[in-house]
């Protein structure tokens, strides 16, 4: 039989182009990758909300959300928390090292549905990566007119734990995006933004659900307490969009471990609306 054209398990070889330490605990780093074969960049055509398997020979693979936007050309970036075998090895790698990326995988935020609406983005901790991708994508001159108001609530434990600090500061200056940065607490007398948990700040700042869609990405506890706030403001479950995490191996719906009911988080997700999740077993 003729050989299949694409092996979905075969990673594209990439070179680490740049490494940025993002947080004060040095546990989160952003890796910028360049494809060794320029043709692969075209094949790795993605949409904000998708993820990829970062593939390290000798260690294995880790599913990580894509932090760059498709409007940024010539590279792809991922912000990685140091947790296990693969991510620890990655944190010890240096610029110039070669590894693999497999993807893009999964579905994406429902851009067709989001178009023409007000967008509320709510993020917490290191789950801000695909939200960063989405913000860059929406703010791009070619795309900005496709969306109405963009509001962002983003929180971390402390100012030093916020990701993408330079970009946050830049977005704060712009008038085409409403930023509500917050931290759980700080002793920094110069902190000029909000103090409080994400659900609290959401309650204060997001006061209308009119013609709006909310994208929520963060730790389970944040999602749990943000959900009722959004529902109170008037967001129906169909217009609350969540991105889930699960242990994965194949990333293409075959290895069997990331299912919630009959849906695979890797292939049918990771993006689900709250309305969808309400019809699925609560096993995540």
């Amino acid at each position: 039989m003729e050989k299949l054209l694409e092996n979905p398990y075969l990673p594209y070889p990439v070179r680490i182009d740049k490494i940025i330490t993002e947080t004060e605990d040095r546990n989160l780093k952003t890796f910028r990758f360049v494809f060794l074969n320029p043709k692969d960049e075209k094949k790795f055509s993605y949409t904000p909300g998708q993820f990829a398997e970062l593939s390290i020979a000798g260690k294995g693979e880790s599913p990580i959300g894509i932090a760059s936007s498709p409007t940024e050309k010539g590279f792809v970036t991922f912000t990685v928390n140091k947790v296990g075998l693969v991510t620890t090895r990655l944190h010890n790698m240096k610029e110039g090292d070669v590894m693999g990326i497999r993807g893009p995988l999964g579905n994406w935020y429902p851009w067709e549905e989001i178009e023409g609406k007000n967008v509320v983005i709510i993020g917490g901790g290191f789950a801000f990566t695909t939200l960063r991708s989405s913000i860059i994508y929406m703010l791009h001159p070619e795309n900005r007119s496709r969306f109405k108001d963009i509001s962002v609530v983003y929180g971390a434990r402390t100012p030093g734990m916020l990701l993408y600090k330079d970009e946050l500061a830049e977005w704060e200056q712009r008038d085409d995006i409403h930023m509500h940065i917050t931290v759980d607490g700080t002793d920094d007398p110069d902190w000029k933004y909000n103090i409080g948990f994400v659900p609290t700040i959401t309650e204060q700042k997001i006061t209308s659900a009119d013609d709006a869609i909310a994208i929520v990405c963060g730790p389970p506890i944040m999602i749990k307490f943000t959900q009722p706030v959004l529902e109170k403001v008037g967001f129906p479950p169909e217009r609350i969009i969540l991105s889930l995490e699960m242990r994965m191996k194949c990333g293409i719906g075959m290895c069997g471990r990331c299912n919630i009911g009959h849906e695979f988080v890797c292939k049918d997700g990771p993006v689900f609306s709250l309305a969808q999740l309400k019809n699925m077993p609560p096993e995540y």
Partner: protein, 344 residues
């Protein structure tokens, strides 16, 4: 389609003649059990068996398989570049596979071969295999293939089917692949009306012998979340020791793990069978585990087979009724009982 009759000696001789064009897997006796092995001079095929202890899924989907290889040698120009391992997909045939086990491959197929992705290894090995089934003359008390869309002489997933008529085999070609196999098989003669009638009578008689009936008709209409919260899961899971025997023996269990193994500076990426019975299967890097408790894992196995699969693929249940899990569960958990609970 070809319909031929062989004496049993002639058939074994014909298989020996086919060795030059196929790798032929046949059932052979192995201690107290039977297993499929490649036919060679030293092997005596034994078609007088109930079923193999392990399902033949490993012939298409090995327990452990190297997918990729790479070098970690910093001086090599291709250091850290992951490359596909060479594979042999020359023609092969499984002769004597029971209809339930052939049906199982068809049940598994939509997982490995779907509109979005194709698993290259499963697909190519499946395509290169000719399935020559052997009808069941004497099903076991634990068999329930007729309740899940199969039958002791079901042709689902088969390229040819053998009927054991005592001293002779009646063989029918069912697909192009099966016809090619039979064209290359020496000897035998065209089956006459008497032989064909004998085959039909045999098949009809055996189907009536399967008394085990399991109801699956209502599964599709059940609400997933309600079945998930059903009151019987604690009781179903109570005796389970999470040994994973059921998933290992099951011809339709397909879950796997991917691991990297390194020796010196050479590394391999390997796929191994995995099991939803094990807590590590779903353990997150953060320590969170959506299926940390035994009852959650047991529920997952039955819900996957009898509800999630039904909802996702509209292809019946993910079970071919082979009865292996029923026969081999050390805690006597019986999928037929669980199915009745779920369908009730």
């Amino acid at each position: 389609m070809t319909k031929k009759i062989y004496t049993k000696e002639e058939w074994i001789k014909a298989l020996a003649g086919l060795k030059s064009s196929y790798n032929i897997f046949v059932p052979v006796r192995d201690g107290d059990f039977h297993t499929f092995k490649v036919l060679d001079e030293k092997k005596i095929p034994d078609f007088n068996f109930q079923n193999t202890r392990l399902s033949p899924k490993s012939l298409v989907y090995p327990r452990s398989e190297r997918l990729f290889e790479y070098t970690l040698d910093e001086n090599a120009p291709d250091v850290n570049i992951i490359k596909e391992s060479e594979k042999d997909y020359s023609p092969r045939a499984i002769v004597g596979i029971r209809p339930c086990d052939a049906h199982a491959f068809q049940i598994v197929k939509p997982n490995f071969e779907n509109p979005e992705y194709q698993d290259p290894w499963w697909t190519q090995r499946y395509e290169s295999t000719t399935f020559v089934g052997l009808g069941c003359n004497a099903p076991d008390s634990t068999c329930f293939c007729t309740s899940v869309g199969g039958g002791p002489f079901s042709e689902k997933g088969l390229d040819a089917l053998l009927y054991d008529l005592g001293d002779t085999f009646l063989v029918k070609g069912l697909t192009e692949k099966g016809e090619t196999f039979l064209e290359n098989a020496q000897g035998g003669k065209t089956a006459d009306e008497t032989a064909l009638k004998a085959g039909e009578d045999l098949a009809a008689g055996v189907s009536d012998k399967i008394e085990q009936k399991v109801s699956t008709d209502k599964l599709k209409h059940k609400v997933q979340t309600e079945l998930f919260d059903a009151p019987f899961w604690d009781e179903v899971a109570f005796a389970c020791i999470n040994c994973g025997t059921c998933t290992y023996l099951c011809p339709t269990c397909w879950c796997f793990d991917i691991q990297d193994e390194v020796l010196g500076k050479q590394g391999d990426r390997i796929r191994n069978w995995d099991s939803c019975m094990f807590p590590l299967f779903t353990l997150h890097g953060s320590g969170h585990n959506p299926r940390a408790r035994k009852v959650q894992r047991v529920r997952q196995r039955f819900m996957h087979k009898l509800k999630y699969y039904v909802d996702k693929y509209n292809n019946g249940v993910q079970c071919s009724g082979c009865g292996r899990c029923v026969r081999n569960c050390p805690a006597n958990i019986d999928i037929r009982d669980v199915c009745e609970l779920m369908n009730g």
